[in-house]
Amino acid sequence: MTQPFLSIKGIRKTYGQVIAVKNVTLDVAQGEFMTFLGPSGSGKSTTLYILAGFQDPTDGDILLNGQSLLSTPSHKRNIGMVFQRYTLFPHLTVGENVAFPLRIRRVGQAEIAERVSKALKLVRLEGFEDRKPALMSGGQQQRVALARALVYNPPVLLMDEPLSALDKKLREEIQFEIRRIHQETGVTILYVTHDQEEALRLSDRIAVFSQGEIDQIGTGQELYANPATHFVAGFIGDSNFINAEVLSSADGKAKLALPGGTVIDGVPMHAGKTGGKSASLLLRPERLSLSSHQVANGLAVTINDITFLGNNIEVSTRTGNGESLSVRLPFGHEAIASISRGDQAWLSFEPKSTHAFA
């Protein structure tokens, strides 16, 4: 196997009793857009800070092109970073901010001017050289920060929730810009977010963080279609979970009894730590079909509510033992006409497209 471009090996970080990062191992290819996705406190920033050299790991190593980075101080790592908070130097103009890393590197005056204007052009802020950061909007400031982080051509660019302070529309606009910049420059990006939509939109691969560990790494589609854990299943895409009884399981497939007695077979089974007799069954709202008459192997539910959402319709239902399940149907689905609130209906699905987590 060829040597990975960036390799994070068994990183662990504790603060006294607090475990910020339990065990993170991950390889990133050159030019890849890798996103760390996870809830607050799952150790995403800590991992990034260790990469940047602001913190030393309690254990583990980081290799860039096969060389350990840990003994190199931050200012010599040559890594770029955009922070969640605005970190432009307030006493310098936009142009001087972008020139800062080049000045430190003693690049010649003419080359600085040229590279600064190129970097500002890349983030579409030509002509803002003489502005002070305080007079720029949040989105503009983050774009300047991006230009400042890219102007010295770092091999790796770290971004720690750079858009979380912006409103939704602006966020989407800059996401688009970040994608374009990634494609234009080919820089390797490690991006942190807790917004799954942002992760799906931007990334080549996503690492899902949970409690200081990576639960699963894969493309958005892989994570959606084949979640490895209950947590990933719940975090990526919309999801329903119902309790089921495990009748038998072999070769990663299980036979399950659903509430109400329906038995389904051939469900992909992800054995967890418990390995007990009960499992949680993932049913994606858009993978469920609904019919107003009884169907074979169907799950009997009561219609709770029907909500029109534009191009699709969300039907919220309740199973016999009170678990709620939402179903998403395309607009104009024939079942809609024949059901109304309080009615009995039947849900059916392909067992092999679902997942059970023990």
């Binding site: 101080p73 200012h75 890594i79 908070r85 307030p90 010295y152």
Partner: protein, 285 residues
Amino acid sequence: MVVSATTDGGQRKIRRNGSFGYVVPALLLIAFFFIIPVLMLLMRSVLEPTPGLQNYRELLGSTTYLRVFMNTFTVAGLVTVVAVVIGFPVAWLLAIMPDKWSRLVMAIIILSMWTNLLARTYAWMVLLQRTGVVNKMLINLGIIDKPLALVNNLVGVTIGMTYIMLPFVILPLIGILKSIDPAVLRAAALCGANKRQCFTRVLLPLSLPGIASGALMVFVMSLGYYVTPALLGGTSNMMLAELVAQFVQSLVNWGMGGAAALVLLVVTLVLYAVQLKFLNPNRAR
């Protein structure tokens, strides 16, 4: 920027809605206890012993008095520099210390400010004298073998006044340093700046307004200081306030005393105007 904008707006609102009448008693008080005495002093300085500007001419024309002016500026400048050099790192430590500890240290600093000035100055006299703790310690440590002259000279004045002025540098600087986001310094480090470059190119320029206003305050306060120079200084480095006291108390020369006091006041006001012009924190940067 946002903060200053709202305070400006707030002040404007108060001015618009509030009645001017409320401030009249305060203005009267200031007029009675501050402006009138100053005017009286001004009158005496140009009227005694005979009407004219001869007091000012004598004061600004004689080398003896010019030496006093020079001394005053030297001491004030020295105290300012030393206070900033010591105060900046202390303020930085206090700014990055856990809140629990910094509050304790700040309480000690403020408590020292509340302690009687004379008591504090006498304490330094005891510490710094020939047989004082400082000299004894230095001798016992083998750093010196004869006691140093630490009082009744420039060294004594500088030490005593720096100690008194330090809080005026430290306290405002803590606020400024705390308002600097550590992420900005991290960004500088990733941009390639080493510790020294982070300090000279980011931290120092960002704290410059705080340093400058603290320094100016210390300088202006030092110019008119009396007690500490009188007790810890020698006769060869008399300061302006001591000169005023001598004119008024020993020589009963109100004309010269008033002139000296007014020169001091004018210098102070000029410096204050400079501060307002260049160091206004609300000025858009």
